[in-house]
Amino acid sequence: MVSVLKRGLAIITLLIIGYWLAQGLAGVPFGQDKMLVGRYYLEHVIEQTGSINAVTAVVVNYRGFDTLGEVTVLFIASTGVGALLWERKKRRTAKTEGSIVLTTGTRLLVPFVMLFGAYIFIHGHLTPGGGFPGGATIATAFLLLYMAFTMYEIPHKAFEKTEGIVGMAYVIVGLIGLAIGGYFLYDWIWQTWGLGRDNVGRLFSGGFIPIIYTIIGLKVGTELSGIIDNMLKEGVKE
């Protein structure tokens, strides 16, 4: 009786909230031109940044500091998962080995999945994608290796060193921009050195966007693999 009353009250509250949201959104017409700042970014993106993908130019170049904050949040989450699930000795508890289809398919496919992930983050300024789906694809390749073999572990020392070096490299790129140009994350390749100005639309252009997306892709890939590794192992009681 009490739970039916509580459930009914919850549904009535949700319907009132839904009606209020819908009435607020009725004043926003769907599909009409309401760009203000977006029009400035679209008109000046090729001459100011050198990339033809406007979304990745906004994420890395015009709003690069927010991307640094996002990389920090992901780092804190990965450290938090490692700290909450810490045991003195850990091992994997999978009991059944994958079938012959899974192991053979994994051995054939893992290099291609990693190559595809690297392609996504290297061509971030030309095709849709960027650093974050590229890193997630690399983490999916490691997840496939975890699913197929019962005794596979990622090499911990190499991954932790890579993650630390790559995270420091992002801040160093920003500090070099501060030294050359005057503000943090100044695009010193496109605006001071002028490399690749005649190459817009090809691979060697776009300022420092490919460099930062390589850094972000490696960082996200190793961090998500670390999260998967921490959640799969259980502690051994001595």
């Binding site: 509580k6 459930r7 919850a10 549904i11 509250t13 949700l14 909230i17 839904g18 949201l21 819908a22 009435q23 959104l25 009725a26 926003v28 769907f30 599909g31 009409q32 031109d33 309401k34 760009m35 700042v37 977006g38 029009r39 970014y41 679209l42 008109e43 993106v45 090729i46 033809i52 993908n53 406007a54 979304v55 906004v58 994420v59 709003r63 927010d66 991307t67 996002e70 949040v73 992901l74 804190i76 989450a77 990965s78 938090g80 998962v81 909450l84 699930l85 095709t127 849709p128 960027g130 974050f132 639309g201 996200v220 999260i227 921490n230 959640m231």
Partner: protein, 116 residues
């Protein structure tokens, strides 16, 4: 009756379904599923506000001038929001694993009764 587009209706429905799961259900993992569905609904709402009908994706290759591209700014916001959503979900799930090891149950009323 107010007239809204189908995309707005779909995203409001997702937010309401996720909020129902957080309010009514008693299992912690079911509440986290509701939270994740709410985040997907909000991202869908943000991208559908920036859509302009008749235009194409904001990648300025041959033939796409700034008159023929949709708004790139909501897409940049949502790109960040998706990654932060999965980071907070991972952290909440590891907290649930520690909670299960300590109390032995996933029911929030049992945990509140056993606390201490």
């Amino acid at each position: 009756m107010i007239h809204i587009s189908a995309f707005y209706f779909g995203s409001i429905a997702l937010v309401l379904i996720g909020l129902y799961a957080v309010l009514v259900k008693k299992n912690i993992l079911k509440m986290l599923i509701g939270l994740s569905i709410m985040e997907t609904g909000v991202n869908l709402l943000l991208v559908s506000i920036g859509y302009i009908s008749g235009r194409s994706a904001p990648i300025l290759s041959e033939g796409i001038t700034p008159d023929k591209a949709v708004d790139p700014i909501p897409q940049a916001l949502v790109l960040t929001a998706i990654v932060i959503g999965v980071a907070t979900t991972a952290m909440a799930l590891s907290a649930v694993i520690v909670l299960y090891r300590r109390y032995g149950t996933l029911n929030v009323e049992e945990i509140r009764r056993l606390r201490g």
